[in-house]
């Protein structure tokens, strides 16, 4: 599973990255968490608000910081 955190490096993006990592840990998933900060790639995903969470190439969350619990529910499907 590949998880991408889209955002220009602001505080909220870091928070989302942290929450995602703890969700991954809590679920014991084998997932790679990558931060994407390049604006052209971010826009390429069609999102208009950062931070965003992309799971295996699909945007699942944008414009807000979700709690680890909520991210957990997203990751379980």
């Amino acid at each position: 599973m590949k998880l991408e955190i889209l955002g220009s490096g602001c505080k909220r993006c870091q928070q989302l990255a942290e929450n995602t990592k703890s969700a991954v840990r809590a679920l014991g998933l084998d997932a790679e968490v990558v931060k994407v900060e390049d604006m052209a790639s971010i826009v390429g995903y069609g999102i208009m608000a950062t931070p965003a969470l992309v799971v295996d190439g699909q945007v699942r969350l944008s414009g807000r910081v979700a709690t680890p619990e909520e991210i957990g529910r997203i990751l379980r499907g």
Binding site: M39, I42, G46, M48, A49, V59, L61, V65
Partner: protein, 370 residues
């Protein structure tokens, strides 16, 4: 009636408390029952909120005059009573409003706003964009993807600017603080003139045809298809509201407390009309000076409005004060730096200049009228 519903609204403690899981699983047809429990919880929370709100004034009087034995009309008494009354009042107002706005905003995603604005004629588009700028969630850190998303999908440049001007200027923190500390009339003036500035400035930028000063990479970048919107249950929306409270109130409360403390000091110790000379309406340079001072104080509306309120009480002119607050919220250095990625200097300068002129005109207008 069972009590557990009580833990529904302040869900800041995490998602675990509310058994939302099963409902989410059947999201599509979650059906009728799903709104009832949250509605009861919300009603109870609203009641508790109201009870607290009504209790603040007697509590402040009791604390100042009863417990501390201060005279409510003396210097120290007036300052302390102001502080212990205004601080909980404003924070409570902020929690309530940010929570409700946080829920409302889940209905207005940037994607939906873009779809409403794409291909709109100017004028109507400027008005609509400014109004949507108030309700659409916006953070200056995502100004660039938003700008590109708008421009690439055919939202005219001027309409895009109307949105970018209104969104930070008319934000919930500024509006709540103005309403709670200064009053409904000034809040209405602020929102009304703020909207006018956003509409007119965006329209002027559109008329100037500055599209060639948008960085060229904006037009060459390949924008992906809009992300599919995730279906939200009402529980999700309430959780978003609680998240907004945690994020926004958690960030601004120290500024509010500090601002009200300074305001309380001014309130108690600065003599009436002391500022009429320097900040009064007689001084022609007061308005541009207010704008010049306001620009570097970005994102600190929370700390500044309580001080502004106290200054108003000591003879500062309303026009100068309005101009100052608008400069604080609408024009900020970090946002200019972020927008520089997509705007060439002439367009950035036009944006800043036009908005600044608009704010100065509003300042003079109200200094002359009132």
């Amino acid at each position: 009636m069972s009590l557990p519903v009580l833990d529904a609204p302040p869900a800041g403690t995490g998602a675990g408390a509310v058994p939302a899981g099963p409902e989410l699983g059947t999201a599509g047809g979650a059906g009728r029952g799903s709104w009832r429990r949250p509605a009861v919880g919300l009603a109870l929370a609203a009641l508790a909120w109201l009870g607290l709100y009504v209790g603040i004034a007697p509590f402040a009087r009791w604390l100042t005059q009863g417990l501390l034995g201060l005279d409510g009309h003396g210097h120290a008494g007036a300052a302390v009573q102001f502080f212990v009354f205004e601080t909980p009042k404003v924070v409570l107002l902020l929690v309530g409003v940010v929570y409700v706005i946080g829920i409302i905003r889940t209905y207005f995603t940037p994607e939906r706003t873009r779809a409403m604005l794409a291909g709109r004629r100017e004028t109507v588009g400027n008005v609509l964009a400014s109004v949507l700028g108030i309700v659409t969630p916006f953070c200056s850190c995502s100004a660039v993807p938003l700008f590109i998303g708008f421009v690439e999908s055919g939202v005219p440049l001027g309409v895009t600017f109307s949105f970018l001007i209104a969104a930070p200027m008319i934000n919930e923190v500024a509006v709540v603080l103005l309403f709670g500390l200064v009053g409904p009339a000034v809040t209405a003036l602020y929102v009304g003139t703020g909207l006018t500035i956003a509409i007119v400035s965006g329209w002027v930028i559109g008329r100037l045809h500055l599209e060639r000063h948008v960085e060229s990479w904006v037009y060459s970048v390949k924008v992906g298809a809009a992300a599919p919107s995730v279906r939200l249950t009402f529980d999700d929306r309430m959780r978003a509201g609680a998240g907004a409270v945690r994020e926004i109130v958690g960030k601004v409360w120290p500024y509010i407390v500090a601002g009200i403390a300074v305001g309380a000091w001014i309130h108690g110790y600065v003599p009436e009309r002391a500022l009429a000379g320097i900040l009064g309406r007689g001084a022609w340079w007061a308005v541009p000076a207010a704008v010049a001072i306001g620009v570097p104080m970005y994102s600190n509306a929370a700390g500044i409005i309580p001080i502004v309120q106290a200054l108003l009480g000591k003879g500062a002119a309303l026009g100068s004060v309005l101009a100052f607050m608008m400069a604080v919220t609408a024009l900020s250095f970090p946002e200019m730096v972020i927008l520089r990625k997509v705007l060439r200097p002439p367009l950035l300068a036009a944006f800043v200049g036009i908005v600044a002129v608009g704010i100065i005109l509003v300042g003079y207008l109200f200094n002359a009228l009132l």
